[in-house]
Point group: C2
Chain length 344, copies 2
């Protein structure tokens, strides 16, 4: 396999996950203890780009496992409209690998003043975000050099999963996290198959990525990875929303990447796969469990679907990488992008 | 102009807005009174498709004007994962024109059991959603027959604006709502210009719709309308997120519909317009106020940008309609769609 920074960082993920979960543990425990002491009633997650996709995972996971409402912030409410929002009873977590985004910092600063407990989830210990927040959860992913974020995404998911496990005392989550690095390593063994799949997509102008519920983050992040590196027009959909209109625009031979990990969403995704095949779309199923037989690519099984998003994105990262190479482009230098995007 | 159900319903909107705001008022007042009596601390909005785009407006508007956190629900948390979420202190509003979506009904039913104050925002008085919720806000839009929702979208926005006005005592909102029907009628006078613009897009395979903050709902709803009727590949973006990756996939001559109503987001949208022009994209600016001179289409001015989304979607609805006709398609019969989509 040819090498690049992005490729190296994709394969650093099993080790990075281990570091995040061991070195990051005490900070998670401390945050959960204070959140319970202060009777936190709901969570708000403030993020942009890849970090926002990671926050989407947390939005579902925290509600499912902790029974607390969890929501994505709208940073411009504060940065453009200077609104004072009453955050008493909230835990507000700013999520940013660089910790340099001014808008996320502003949300956290305002939330702290408005009575929230605040935390930073970042890969940069001395960032402004970490200074602003009362608690800091560190990815311990090592410096991420590629413009397309990979290891900071999966370590962020892992820290959210650890947070949910500590908060809820969920045994399946704890047990699954103990072996998640090994499952990630296994998920990366599909590289040769992914490379072959990438070759069949060289001339595709458009691709749909589809998942549901807890796994929506995987569809959104896969679309972002594909778009920012290979320049394909990638549209992420919840399988539930796809049927509310957008399916009308699906035409002959459009490749559709469907994520169907073992669990509650698999049956619904199989149904959507049927509807898409009826429209003669090209269904590419990434599946675990029972439906694996019909799959274009197998998904690794972390023992509980609650952790699947951490490993299911790996074949999609590889696909973005290999499609980019197959198109004669440089995955390490997407046009018009820089590593840190500042939103004013 | 040629006629169709969708076209008729687009032009029914000024009258429908008047009905929603007059006939709907007492229900809004009653809901706000009970919410304050019960010390509601935050709002959760549960919706799908077009209704979810309307809820996105409310998410911003409620936070900006009422200073209360407002969030979009993740229905599958309840329907697929059977999670019990602690909704004490929440007002949970189910939004659905038909009121028939089982998943939204389930969110409302569970929220009521879990301690939330609940409301339905629907166009169907005898729907299950209305029966399930403690309060009902009715669109009074009349039966909507076209598959592509138009008048139920704008009347839903108007009811959310009325809710925000009553809750916050915001004078600008109240004053603006008094004349919003007239401003909507004015917004529809651009039809001839829109028809001309539609002709230039006949062969476009892809279009981007871009807005920011409070106006994000307009970009998302415009993309949905365009995709479900004309089958163009339409991708909505927050201008803040577009720079985090997706801009890499923007290529020569791609039409980009930018919404720049007068207000806090106009400067940022102008900046993004510059970046897109540098990439030789075809920038189509819908603008009000100072930047109107450079605009492809003017936006009507409701006096406060807080109400702009109610009228800014109208030229986009007309564009979807005329692009569909120009392509020789039937706006009243999008392939593969039905009026009520049931998500299980």
């Amino acid at each position: 396999m040819s090498s690049s920074i992005m490729h190296d960082e994709i394969f650093e993920q099993p080790a990075a996950l281990t570091r995040a979960l061991t070195e990051g543990r005490s900070a998670v425990t401390a945050l959960v203890a204070e959140a319970k002491r202060r009777d936190v009633r709901y969570l708000v997650l403030a993020a942009r780009g890849t970090s926002d996709n990671a926050a989407t995972y947390a939005k579902y996971l925290i509600q499912i496992t902790c029974g607390l409402p969890a929501a994505l912030a709208a940073p411009s409410v504060h940065t453009l409209y200077q609104a004072d929002v009453d955050y008493r009873g909230a835990l507000v977590i700013g999520v940013s690998q660089s910790g340099a985004g001014e808008d996320i910092n502003e949300v956290v600063a305002r939330a702290k003043k408005a009575g929230a407990l605040t935390a930073a989830l970042t890969n940069t210990a001395d960032s402004r975000l970490a200074q602003e927040a009362e608690h800091t959860l560190l990815c311990h992913a090592g410096v991420e050099k590629a413009v397309a974020a990979t290891k900071t995404y999966t370590t962020t998911l892992a820290l959210f999963a650890l947070l949910a496990a500590e908060w809820s005392g969920h045994n399946e989550l704890h047990r699954g996290l103990e072996r998640i690095a090994d499952v990630a390593a296994q998920a990366l063994t599909v590289e040769a198959q992914v490379q072959e799949l990438a070759r069949t997509l060289i001339h595709a102008e458009r691709i749909l990525t589809v998942a549901r519920g807890l796994h929506l983050c995987t569809a959104i992040e896969a679309a972002l990875k594909l778009a920012e590196t290979s320049y394909i027009t990638a549209q992420p959909f919840s399988s539930a929303d796809l049927l509310h209109g957008p399916i009308a625009s699906v035409a002959f031979n459009i490749p559709c990447l469907l994520f169907a990990p073992k669990g509650q969403t698999a049956a619904g995704i199989a149904e959507v796969a049927g509807s898409l095949r009826q429209k003669a779309a090209r269904v590419l199923l990434l599946a675990g469990g029972d439906t694996e037989g019909a799959a274009a690519l197998p998904l690794a099984d972390p023992g509980t679907e609650l952790l699947s998003p951490i490993v299911d994105i790996l074949p999609a990262q590889l696909l973005a990488y290999h499609l980019t190479l197959a198109r004669g482009l440089d995955p390490d230098n997407p046009r018009g992008l820089t590593k840190v995007t500042i939103t004013r």
